[in-house]
Structure formats: structure tokens, C-alpha cells
């Protein structure tokens, strides 16, 4: 039962990522694309955690944590860059 739910959830989250990809390609403003990338990182975390449940292993946890940290830092750096023209300073 959990495996079936996992398969469905993997498909649904992947479909959500395709919608993010659409916004990434079509977004009129640069911030739309930043938001699409941020959402994509969150969807990737969900995808990795679902793979962890699917393979019944705990190894994928670290990957999800890394994606969470890098996604947050990337979004903040993008916003800083768009506002000021540089990231630090």
C-alpha cells in the first residue's frame, strides 16, 4: 500500500515540477524565475524523501538536507543580486 502511494506521489510531484519548469521558461519577470527555482528545490526535497521511503533507506536524508540548504542560499543570493547587482556587500 505504501509502495503504491509512493509511486502515485512520485508521479504527482514530478508533474508539479513540470509546472515549475513551465513557469521557469515563461515567467515574465526575473523574480518569477527565481520563485520557480525555489519551488523546484522544495519539490526536489519531496522527491528525494519519497525515494527514501521507496527504497526503505535512510541515506537519502542527507541529500534532502543539502538541497534544502543550497536552495535557500541560492534564492537569497539571486534576490540580493537582482536588487543590488552583487551578492555580498
Amino acid at each position: 500500500m505504501i509502495m503504491v502511494a509512493c509511486a502515485i506521489a512520485l508521479a504527482v510531484v514530478a508533474a508539479g515540477m513540470l509546472l515549475n519548469l513551465y513557469r521557469l521558461a515563461a515567467g515574465p519577470d526575473a523574480l518569477d524565475r527565481v520563485l520557480a527555482l525555489d519551488t523546484m528545490a522544495i519539490n526536489a526535497i519531496a522527491l528525494v524523501m519519497l525515494l527514501g521511503i521507496w527504497f526503505e533507506t535512510h541515506i537519502y536524508f542527507e541529500a534532502a538536507l543539502l538541497i534544502a540548504a543550497v536552495g535557500f542560499l541560492a534564492t537569497v543570493a539571486f534576490c540580493k543580486y537582482l536588487l543590488r547587482g552583487n551578492v555580498i556587500g
Binding site: I2, G16, M17, N20, D29, L35, A36, L50, A64, T75
Partner: protein, 130 residues
């Protein structure tokens, strides 16, 4: 007991996937940037939260004891999601002149916090904020 746990994990996985999809759909479908911001920042934290709790309970089902590592990701995401949303909204308002002109007046001596530079005017007597 394992059967109830299995049902709980299944329901949490499906609910999480549903919320993830709602967030992404809102991002793709809503008409302008400020409204698009609502979809992912709210729905996906709920979606990831549900999937993380499902993963914790699944570890209880597989190995026999509850896994607490997932709480780390949950806490990190719940702390950072408002920060990223605020950064994106602020950058959007400061980059778009038309968006700034369309803001309604605040109805008090202080202007919009994002746009006010320098000294903030004093708040009058009887106001809610000290």
C-alpha cells in the same frame, strides 16, 4: 497497530503529494507575481511537512524506532520559507516602478516599511504599536 501505521503513512504521502501539486499549480496558473508567491510558499511547506512526517513514521514501520532526523529538514524549511518569500516580494516591489506606484496609502504617518528610507516618523498617541 502496523496496519494503522501503514494507513497513516499512505494518507500522509498522498496528502503531501496533493499539496505539493497544488503549490506548483498555483505557481503556474495565478495571474501576477504577488499572487503567484502565495501558492508555493504555503502549499509546499505543508506538502513537504506531510511527506517528512510520513518518512518518520515509515522508519518506525521498517526499523522499529522513530526517525527524528527529518525534523531537521522540517525546521529548516519552516524557518527559511518566510525569509525567501519576503526577499522575493521585496525584490519584486523594489525592482518594479509600476508596482510601487500602485501600492495603496498606509493610512498612517509611516509609509510602507520596504520603501521608507532613513528616519521613520513618530507613531501618534493611542496607536496599537508602542
Amino acid at each position: 497497530m502496523p496496519a494503522a501505521l501503514e494507513i497513516a503513512v499512505t494518507v500522509l504521502i498522498l496528502a503531501g503529494a496533493f499539496f505539493m501539486f497544488v503549490g506548483s499549480y498555483g505557481l503556474a496558473k495565478l495571474p501576477d507575481m504577488m499572487r503567484r508567491l502565495h501558492g508555493p510558499t504555503k502549499a509546499t511547506t505543508l506538502g513537504v511537512g506531510a511527506i517528512l512526517v510520513a518518512s518518520m513514521l515509515d522508519a518506525l514501520l521498517v526499523t522499529g524506532d522513530l526517525s527524528m532526523h527529518e525534523l531537521l529538514i522540517a525546521v529548516f524549511l519552516f524557518l527559511t520559507a518566510p525569509v525567501t518569500a519576503n526577499m522575493i516580494a521585496k525584490a519584486y516591489i523594489l525592482r518594479n516602478r509600476a508596482e510601487r506606484a500602485a501600492l495603496p496609502p498606509t493610512g498612517r504617518p509611516a509609509g510602507w516599511a520596504t520603501l521608507v528610507r532613513g528616519e521613520v516618523p513618530p507613531v501618534p498617541e493611542g496607536s496599537i504599536r508602542p
